[in-house]
């Protein structure tokens, strides 16, 4: 299958195609048609019914059915309601939402107005990262243009419905991607989660009923309304209709954003779209779902991607991060890397996330430094699962996933670190040493000249020696030696 054939662009349909700074471009591709259709030929209940029947699920994390969210917000009695857009994309290496906001801002505006009409809200706020200046610029421009044309603001398209949109800038805290933390942040409070229930649809921003979806979820809405739920359901699977955008990264040849129908096997994305692993090496695992996701081993590459199958493998859809790893990646190191991120980004409100994640990280650190005990492996699993079981918000409930899933699928690698004090991938510095093989060394001096700490000595055409005390184990000599004379072990 070709790179293109596997992809279906619904959310990203306009990205890179239209001029995002020009509302006419969006209108020319049937933009705001869905809003007009809803306002003048559909009741709010019909809009919600269409979203419900489409089967669209949240693209930001847990995959909650969007229509049910909207319905709950509609049923919540209140004079004031809010529509929030979660554009606090925080997963390292993920930029799906950024591309959408930069490349097709009106699509989000239209979707939020549709949502406002459906749930009975007149005010919307986009919570966007301040670190996305182009997205901010395009959104501000888009709001002004839409207001000028009567597509936002009072009496939209001359009708009774009014909807005002504004931006709120996030300051880069990962936890503010969690919906209740995000709302606290908008209210000027500390970015930390609230107890749920009550859910935002019942009591959200300023305690008013609030619908909050992420950018990609909204990006699907105008087309579902315009083309009908049946059209949307032709893509994807029964339980997970539609498409999903992934930020494909790591050891594949083609990296970047891909949009595929739900149910597409991982292998299709990696091999057909991603063009396989760099340097012809073997795929070892795929990490999905961002820092809170899990690592799926290569033997499960034929798993069709949907919410349930990813969760079944101890990972998650998340917002769509997808990092491909090969034999050169140490799975313990990967788990440690992600946990370093989540432990730092934890807000610190609840005990398991605040202290538990730190203790998990310390265990992983000990293992990667050759100080782990076999008992630690069981304790890692037990503590990880208790953190998931007891944490207050989605961050803590998923932060142990990288550790738990790698331990589940790559236990032998963990055991090698603990029992043999060996890192099979050769990336855990404390467990790696470099040695020059006397029979292979030609005395070419390449290693000595490239060593950043000048710890290799030897005369030209004589066997060289590494001063182990000063070696920082960077591996440069190993990669530069033209005669494979440097052994790692």
């Amino acid at each position: 299958m070709s790179e293109k054939a596997a992809q279906v662009r619904i959310a990203l349909r306009n990205c890179g195609v239209i001029d995002p700074e020009n509302i006419s471009d969006y209108i020319a591709t049937d933009g705001y048609e869905a809003l007009a259709k809803a306002l003048f030929s559909m009741t709010p209940d019909e809009v919600i019914e269409t979203v419900k029947k489409s089967g669209l699920r949240g693209r930001g994390g847990a995959g909650f059915p969007t229509g049910i969210k909207w319905e709950t917000a509609r049923k919540s009695q209140s004079d004031v309601k809010y529509v929030l857009c979660n554009a606090d994309e925080g997963d390292p290496g993920a930029f799906m939402d950024r591309s959408l906001l930069e490349g097709d801002p009106h699509c989000i505006l239209e979707a939020m107005a549709l949502c406002g009409y459906a749930i009975g809200a007149q005010e919307g706020i986009i919570y966007v990262r301040a670190e996305y200046p182009l997205a901010v610029k395009h959104l501000q421009l888009a709001i002004r243009q839409a207001e000028a044309l009567g597509l936002l603001g009072d009496n939209i398209l001359g009708g009774d419905f009014s909807f005002h949109l504004s931006l709120y800038f996030g300051a880069g805290a990962f936890v503010c991607g969690e919906e209740t933390s995000l709302m606290n942040s908008v209210q000027g409070g500390r970015g930390e989660p609230r107890i749920k229930p009550p859910f935002p649809a019942v009591s959200g921003l300023w305690n008013a009923p609030t619908n909050i979806n992420n950018v990609e979820t909204y990006a699907n809405i105008p087309q579902i309304i315009r083309n009908g739920w049946e059209w949307f359901r032709q893509f994807g699977t029964e339980k997970s209709p539609g498409t999903k955008v992934f930020a494909l990264a790591g050891r594949v040849n083609n990296v970047g954003l891909v949009e595929v129908p739900m149910g597409t096997p991982l292998r299709t994305i990696i091999e057909d779209i991603g063009g396989g692993i760099q340097g012809g090496r073997r795929c070892k695992a795929v990490q999905t779902g961002g820092p809170s996701g899990g690592c799926i081993p290569a033997e499960h590459l034929d798993t069709p991607i949907d919410y349930e199958s990813l969760a079944g493998l101890g990972s998650m859809m998340g917002s769509g991060g997808m990092i491909v790893m090969d034999e050169g990646d140490c799975m313990v190191g990967i788990a440690k890397f992600y946990l370093t991120f989540t432990a730092e980004e934890s807000c610190g409100k609840c005990t398991p996330c605040r202290i538990g994640n730190r203790r998990l990280l310390e265990m992983l650190t000990r293992i990667t430094e050759g100080e782990g005990r076999m008992k630690d492996l069981d304790e890692l699993d037990i503590l990880g699962n208790i953190i998931k079981d007891t944490a207050l918000c989605g961050l803590g409930m998923s932060s142990p996933n990288p550790a738990i899933s790698t331990l589940r699928f790559f236990r032998d690698e963990y055991e090698a670190h603990v029992r043999d004090k060996r890192c099979p991938a050769g990336t855990c510095k404390k467990l790696v040493g470099y040695k020059i093989l006397e029979d292979k060394c030609m005395g070419c001096t390449v290693c000595a000249r490239n060593c950043p700490v000048s710890c290799i000595s030897g005369a030209r055409k004589k066997v060289h020696v590494i001063d182990q005390k000063r070696c920082v184990k960077c591996g440069v000599c190993h990669s530069k030696c033209p005669f494979d004379a440097i052994a790692r072990g």
């Binding site: 805290a173 936890v175 500390r190 930390e192 107890i195 229930p197 432990a343 730092e344 980004e345 934890s346 807000c347 610190g348 409100k349 609840c350 005990t351 398991p352 605040r354 202290i355 538990g356 994640n357 730190r358 203790r359 310390e362 304790e379 037990i382 503590l383 208790i386 998931k388 079981d389 007891t390 944490a391 207050l392 409930m397």
Partner: protein
């Protein structure tokens, strides 16, 4: 009603009930740590941060916090499964792994909720070996010591300070493992708007927040033969001190307390109640003076130093309405170092006045510049809380419960029933009214003594009292959140009162920040207040202006109430403070 099942027991509870409340109803115990509901003072700390009360709810993939989850119809709950118990233990172990674990030398040894929880769960080993958080102790405040290393982030102090007291000193700062409860801009406590009420200390489950300990300095003074050390004890201390020695709540231990102070070596054991009567003489005079000379009304009582600091920070434009009267223990100090010293032939510079108070804010008050100044130095040299006194009594090896009942020493030891009720909300204003009623209506042969309409536990109370053919509108607030409401109404001209009493602590001084820990049971405060009113009832003199020693003081030394000498010694001024 909602039908649910807890540990196979079916029960039915009103909608909105939490799992924890429902379990308690049927005698199922779920351990908690951060959770704290004090409905009497509208404090609800259901932040769900500690994750100790986790239970299993059928159909949910993860565990559920019992304290902050409302029951839903048909909910099936298990509190005692291996999964729940193991999770709870692990959470407590995690907390302990980041805790100094120096219980033997800890201020809260024996009263710490984390310690009891660890004991209750039978924690014997802490599997997690990582490093602890390290922070500096904040000892800048004269009243409160903050030790973030012992903090479990239950957020009770934050809820108390921000929502109940509306002072807003505390907030969580930093992220992840480094998260702690801090002040704005990491300011030292002394530089914040903290009123020193100490209610955060009252609800802190560990020793993260404690009172500053002044007992060592007091022992030094007592042991110094050159110094003449005078003790005075506040009205609300005698009804609570017994709790520290296992006596039932509400036991009045005035006699034993006096005996204990003498045994400890104080040269004179006197009564702040005497000075409370003196306060009424001044405050009632000031009230009548303001009334007759078109002065600013309402008059606000000024006995509570936390409340005074609150108005200085939060309502600087209203600083002309509090009475200028010093608080009773400060009046006591001023009189002790002049009148008493002269009578005893003691050099005032060698006299040390130690106030034993239910209060932590009095520690700050004693350091106020405007309350020292004249020739005698500070009015009050040291302030000890009820808890500190109890510790000192134990330290001295005194068997408190076996002590005989003894009386206060003379000259400044007599008191009326009106001064006794200073210890509870509404008491000061009732004492003022008792005296004002007599003074404004001298012909009345039988003036009213008990003003029931001024008593009670509601946070804000309004009442009208009538005497001398006049109606007086009185308002009473306890708790600073309630005070804020009242003051905002006055500021906006919505409320018209003649006199207002405000106490910073719930129920007034019986709920003071330096009192024995109430164990999160507000009923304790009501029982203490009862004891205060019983003491009043049992007194032969129940009006301040009938206190013979007070009358002698005016005759021999002060002259007229609200006169020149009284102004010099018994009145003070207020200053605008920043709001941080």
């Amino acid at each position: 009603m909602v039908n649910i099942t807890i540990n196979h027991l079916e029960t039915s509870v009103p909608e909105g009930t939490t799992i924890l409340e429902a379990a308690r109803e049927i005698g199922v115990h779920i351990p908690t740590l951060c959770h704290l509901d004090l409905p009497d003072i509208k404090m609800v700390n259901r932040v769900g941060t500690c994750r100790v009360c986790m239970v299993e709810v059928e159909g949910k993939w993860n565990l559920t916090p019992a304290c902050s989850t409302a029951v839903t119809p048909g909910m099936v709950i298990h509190t005692d499964t291996l999964r729940a118990i193991r999770a709870r233990r692990t959470v407590v172990e995690l907390l302990l792994s980041n805790h100094p674990r120096e219980c033997l030398t800890c201020e809260r040894n024996g009263t710490c909720e984390l310690q009891s929880l660890a004991a209750e769960l039978g924690i014997r080993e802490i599997k997690f070996k990582g490093p602890r958080i390290h922070t500096e102790k904040d000892t800048t405040s004269y009243s409160i010591v903050r030790n973030a290393e012992k903090c479990v982030l239950c957020r009770r102090c934050e809820t108390m300070c921000n929502e109940v007291q509306t002072v807003g000193v505390y907030s969580a700062v930093h992220r992840g493992f480094d998260c702690l409860i801090g002040t704005a801009f990491d300011l030292p406590m002394l530089e914040t708007s903290c009123t020193c009420c100490g209610q955060c200390v009252s609800v802190c489950p560990t020793a993260a927040l404690t009172e500053t300990d002044d007992s060592a300095e007091v022992w030094e003074a007592i042991a110094n033969p050159d110094l003449y050390v005078v003790a005075q004890t506040a009205p609300a201390v005698r009804v609570t001190l017994g709790e520290e020695f296992g006596l039932p709540v509400g036991t009045q231990v005035t006699g034993k307390m006096t005996a204990a102070l003498r045994k400890m070596g104080f040269d004179k054991v006197l009564d702040t109640d005497f000075a409370a009567d003196l306060t009424i003489m001044e405050e009632a005079s000031e009230f009548i003076h303001r009334m007759k000379h078109g002065g600013r009304l309402p008059i606000l009582t000024s006995c509570c130093p936390a409340w005074v600091k609150f108005i200085e920070h939060q309502f600087p434009d209203l600083l002309d309405i509090p009475s200028t009267c010093k608080s009773p223990h400060e009046m006591f100090g001023a009189i002790a170092k002049t009148y008493l010293a002269r009578k005893l032939g003691v050099d005032p510079a060698k006299m040390v006045v130690v106030s034993i108070m239910p209060c932590l804010a009095k520690k700050f008050e004693a350091r106020r510049e405007e309350l020292s100044g004249h020739e005698v130095g500070s009015n009050v040299d040291y302030v000890l809380s009820t808890r500190e006194l109890a510790r000192m009594i134990r330290e001295a090896g005194i068997h408190f419960n076996a002590l005989p009942e003894e009386d206060f020493d003379g000259v400044m030891g007599e008191s009326s029933g009106a001064s006794a009720i200073f210890g509870t909300t509404g008491g000061v204003i009732e004492a003022v009214v008792r005296t004002a009623a007599c003074w404004l209506d001298p012909e009345n042969p039988n003036p009213q003594i008990d003003f029931q309409q001024l008593r009670g536990i509601e946070g804000i109370r309004e009442a009208c009292v009538e005497f001398a053919g006049q109606k007086f509108c009185v308002a009473i607030a306890h708790g600073l959140g309630n005070a804020r409401k009242l003051l905002t109404d006055i500021q906006e001209g919505k409320a018209q009162y003649d006199a207002i009493e405000i106490m910073a602590c719930p129920s007034g001084c019986v709920g003071g920040g330096g009192q024995p820990y109430h164990g999160n049971n507000m009923e304790v405060l009501t029982q203490r207040a009862c004891a205060v009113y019983n003491e009043d009832k049992g007194k032969s003199v129940r009006r301040s202006h009938e206190n013979k020693e007070v009358l002698a003081l005016y005759k021999e030394f002060l002259g007229e109430p609200y006169g020149e000498k009284a102004h010099e010694l018994l009145h003070t001024r207020y200053q605008k403070r920043d709001q941080i």
